[in-house]
Assembly symmetry: C2
Homo-oligomer: 186 residues x 2
């Protein structure tokens, strides 16, 4: 998963997977099937571990969209700061090479992305129902905007922008979620 995450699907060779797993070629194939099947299992693992942590942080404040999404952005930034995992986001990276992917992988990526949007939108509508948030725009656009911002954080990081600067980017993006009273005071 780390190798795919670092280099992308196309650029990852079986040899690199053999070296990094320490397995033999035939063991890799007999255990995980071909490259595509292995990649799909890596996507599943990424969803269960990395993406799940983000969703967790998001749903920690179900009543306040600003706190929830802010927590998710924080989780993203702390992960980007660790040097143990590759930079960027596996889902975003794979979405960028969408046109060269198998239809099965394309569909999987679409699912992962739309699941993120759905989760963010759920938090937005829940927060709106509990009174607070007078944030502008419909929940759909807002959710896609926030997921897009998360993707751009990962992409900018991959392009070399340091995490310290990304913190400012995330804070700027969150302004659209702030109630007007708070904005007037700042």
């Amino acid at each position: 998963m780390t190798v795919f995450w670092e280099r992308g699907y196309e650029a990852t060779t079986i040899d690199q997977l053999v070296v990094s797993t320490g397995l033999g070629r035939s063991s890799l194939y007999s255990t995980f099937g071909d490259k595509e099947s292995l990649f799909l299992r890596c996507l599943a693992r990424y969803e269960e571990t990395v993406a799940a942590r983000l969703l967790e942080a998001l749903q920690r404040h179900p009543s306040d969209a600003l706190l929830a999404v802010g927590g998710m952005f924080d989780a993203i930034l702390t992960r980007l700061r660790t040097t143990t995992s590759p930079s960027g986001c596996l889902i975003t990276l794979t979405a960028a090479e969408r046109s060269t992917l198998t239809p099965a992988v394309q569909a999987r990526i679409d699912d992962l992305l739309s699941a993120q949007v759905r989760a963010v939108r759920a938090v937005l509508t829940a927060s709106r129902q509990r009174g607070r948030a007078p944030h502008a725009g419909d929940a759909d656009s807002l959710a896609e905007y926030l997921v897009g911002t998360a993707q751009s954080l990962a992409l900018l990081h991959r392009a070399g922008v340091p995490v310290a600067k990304l913190r400012g980017v995330a804070a700027t993006a969150l302004h659209v979620l702030k109630p007007l009273e708070v904005l007037r005071l700042s």
Copy 2:
């Protein structure tokens, strides 16, 4: 350039370039050199044509950051709507595969990205000096945020989000540039 734009650098083969250009293999090599040199020339052409149009739209309203960036987002969306060019953005797409690129190409992509950030920041500071904009945050974070948003527009489009929805995303992102008086009225 279109083939690289559609499939990315790694996934593009010489054969596809031969077919799409209508040239022979040896003609390609004698005229443009190897794959990397050809790609660098494609990046230059992309900068002169596609990216230049965006910068043009950006600098059309030097005194009003909201109008300027809004115009740039509009230019991005109208380009994404055309089916003659591939989806997404060549620079963003290449930045995603950064880790597998030659140092020379990496440096070129870094240049292109930082040039975008610099252009946006210049508009922001100019607009701020002329009175208007009380937008929050420092100009650096704001510029990186806006360029990141532009990238996420291209990326979301590549992931299948229709342009109609992206219009809402862009409008949402622009909220951070609106003066507080306008926000209070909306």
